[in-house]
Symmetry: C2
């Protein structure tokens, strides 16, 4: 019965259409390809253009892009990554650039201008009315990844004393050019934000009611210098559709909308996960769009650093060369102890890093976390050791004292690894380093060192070597 | 100048207020504590209640909760986690339960009912009107984490032939009870979805225009059985505020709104990151709210499994016991090779897992990814080896042949680790296993085995042992 389904398989339809376009392009039937492309919405057209660039080249992508009807081309342009946008700008003509930038939402336009070389920006701004030029220049100055860089000035301003009817009429007049009309803002004569009113409350209220009776007068705000991660936390916490951005004097300077935040969340999560996996990325490009060199640049430094940390580990081993020669069986259990230490530490650091990212864990919870990790470490360490004892004595037929050495080491290593794994990200945050850097690979290197030291100290104690 | 800032530090105000409440509760001044609590919005009150539960106990939290004005208590209840909600329900009286469930949004009510024991649900449904009971029972049957479990039936239905004015009047009548009024839906006589119209287009259009002229007639939809991760991908891709959910016959059965999706994204990201860090979680509770036993249960199985994989590694080492005794220097470079192999693999798996999660990488990109990873591996491996050669020969004063063994092993290990790290998550996805499980810890165990084998085979080749 699975296939008796009237809902079309969208992915399949997309794929089929895409391969049709590829075929048309291969036979240079550009206009047919364009017509096929136009069967999709702007999001899908943008995705297809990116895939076409990968399959052919930038030129083919731009040829198709220019063949799109003007109004659609702007919507498609807005859906592309900034990298692709800049590449297109560098190829198309000045009038085309002008048209696209004029029609783009203000915040999208700023994103493009930020990435263009300053001589091109100057040329574009040259023909822009003075007041708009001033606004653009203000926005270009906001720090990257700040609320200021994310916001748009295209919001709806309502008068406090207006009636619902007057407010709705005003929205009708200016709504088309606003990023959202679903949340409107009330400011005083000094442009200070005094309240927020939702379109919902306007629409369901009597025409004669006053805006001031409907507005929320203690709205949640972001500050223009806030990092975009803080702004996205506000959205997750409160579930709003838009959040106003104010400057130091509490003047309303812009708004951030939830659709932009979805992109920020994806971007920030990718950065976090990549850092936790030992990839320090410098570009926002996706995996396939990064060149081999960009990949090397994102990976080599961290690998290099961690490898150097193993010079210390090697040094430790060298000091115990005699012990190893005496009981070569010890070497056999070394990878297991190091691996389990690394994994135990990774688990703890992952939980703590994520807890801090979602705002659940704070630096003040240091002691609580430590106490929890110690108890978890003791239980986990003992469980793993019991299994190991039997394996070493009865399966590997090694002397019980070797088993005791391994088991006691195991318990200590798991506890220490869990402690370090949980504490290190918190300490990192305290001193202003991204906690995500203290995950997997970093943890493995540190715990390897500690595991070896613990192991050989225990060997000295129990085996007198 | 940093402190000349009229924007109040919200976090500080929150903290101060919270400690005031703690003090009031310690001296049993419950009503003063409640008044302090009421200075905050519902999101903050809910957060404070959770912190109060951690600081005192469930009872204190419920005492405060019951002391809240009725209408606020419902809004606060909606912001709590399902676990806290169920704990509260188990303590408060039947009339209180009834009031809260009546006032909750439909989807929030379903979330609570799902977690309650069936005898309590039956008791509650007993007093519910028959038509609503049937609807509730339908919703309770949807699979957990599916679009069906996420959606709400409280959406606005418009007639195709209605004018803008008629539509707005209708919205005014029913808007208060709808989850959102910003996106409205048009269905035919058979309840099949035929279009979507935004409140924005209604508000900015002339009163006499028809809904059918304004509506989008090829809307993006989710299917009722879709996983919540697929639904959230649609939101990220299209940036919509709400997405309609249809059944097999394309009948509109509910809508999902973006505020619920923000929670889904956080939940799914946490699950992904925890799995990548080797934590298999069974509860949705946060770090501090999980007991020590829950933490052990989430971590021990994976550690145990990975530890067992090191039995194989131990076996490999045992076979090379003679080689190690002969050239004990080899042991010194073992942790470095294993560690670098693990880190190289982690980097690749992290990138590929994230690429698949964001929808950039697909199974069809297998060959492209492989080819990229091989090239990256060769370059990275050679760079790391060059440094190592000099270190081994000139710093450690070991024979050049030992250095050659280590360096050639290093290059091979990095390439193999990068290949496995990138391929394994894709293979996992192909056979229906969550790719996130193929990250850090898993990668470290597998690459450890491969590193050791490669190392000793090279040792045999170059050192003839």
């Amino acid at each position: 019965m699975e296939n008796v389904n009237m809902v079309p398989d969208m992915d399949q339809a997309y794929e089929d259409s895409f391969y049709k376009i590829i075929e048309l392009l291969e036979t240079k039937k550009y206009f047919h390809a364009r017509d096929e492309l136009l069967k999709h919405n702007e999001v899908e057209i943008a995705e297809m253009l990116v895939d076409i660039r990968r399959e052919f080249d930038l030129k083919t992508m731009v040829v198709l892009f220019r063949a799109l009807p003007k109004d659609i081309s702007v919507d498609v342009f807005a859906e592309l990554s900034v990298e692709d946008q800049v590449d297109i700008i560098n190829i198309i003509t000045d009038p085309e650039i002008r048209y696209i930038l004029d029609e783009l939402d203000f915040d999208d336009m700023i994103d493009v201008l930020e990435e263009l070389p300053s001589n091109i920006v100057d040329k574009i701004l040259d023909k822009t009315p003075k007041s708009e030029r001033r606004l653009i220049n203000t926005f270009l100055k906001y720090k990257e990844d700040s609320a200021g860089a994310l916001m748009t000035p295209e919001y709806i301003n309502l008068k406090k004393d207006a009636t619902v009817r007057e407010a709705l009429d005003h929205i009708k007049d200016v709504g088309l050019d606003s990023e959202t009309i679903y949340t409107c803002y009330v400011v005083d004569s000094g442009r200070k934000l005094i309240g927020v009113v939702s379109l919902k409350s306007l629409v369901i209220s009597p025409d004669t009611m006053k805006v001031s009776d409907l507005m929320h007068d203690d709205p949640v705000v972001a500050h223009v210098d806030d990092d975009q991660e803080e702004v996205s936390d506000l959205f997750t916490r409160y579930g709003y559709l838009a959040i106003p951005v104010v400057d130091n004097e509490f003047r309303l300077v812009g708004i951030v909308t939830v659709d932009d935040i979805l992109e920020v969340i994806e971007e920030e999560t990718t950065e976090d996960i990549e850092r936790m996996g030992g990839v320090i990325d410098t570009s926002d490009r996706e995996y396939l769009d990064r060149s081999v060199w960009q990949h090397v640049k994102a990976r080599l430094p961290w690998l290099f650093l961690l490898m150097c940390s193993y010079f210390v580990t090697g040094g430790i081993l060298a000091r115990f060369e005699d012990a190893m020669s005496a009981v070569i069986a010890l070497v056999i259990y070394m990878p297991m102890l190091m691996g389990t230490g690394g994994n135990s530490g990774s688990q703890s650091s992952t939980l703590v890093i994520r807890g801090m990212a979602t705002g659940e864990l704070e630096l003040g919870d240091f002691i609580k976390v430590m106490w929890k990790e110690i108890r978890v470490g003791v239980i986990v360490g003992i469980c793993l050791s019991i299994l190991n004892y039997f394996r070493i004595v009865y399966l590997d037929h090694n002397p019980p004292l070797v088993a005791v050495t391994v088991c006691v080491s195991m318990i200590l290593i798991v506890i220490i690894a869990k402690l370090i794994g949980s504490m290190l990200p918190m300490i990192a945050k305290r001193i202003g380093i991204d906690p995500a850097l203290m995950a997997g690979p970093m943890m493995a290197s540190i715990t390897d060192m500690i595991s070896l030291c613990t192991y050989f100290i225990m060997a000295g104690l129990f085996l007198h070597i």
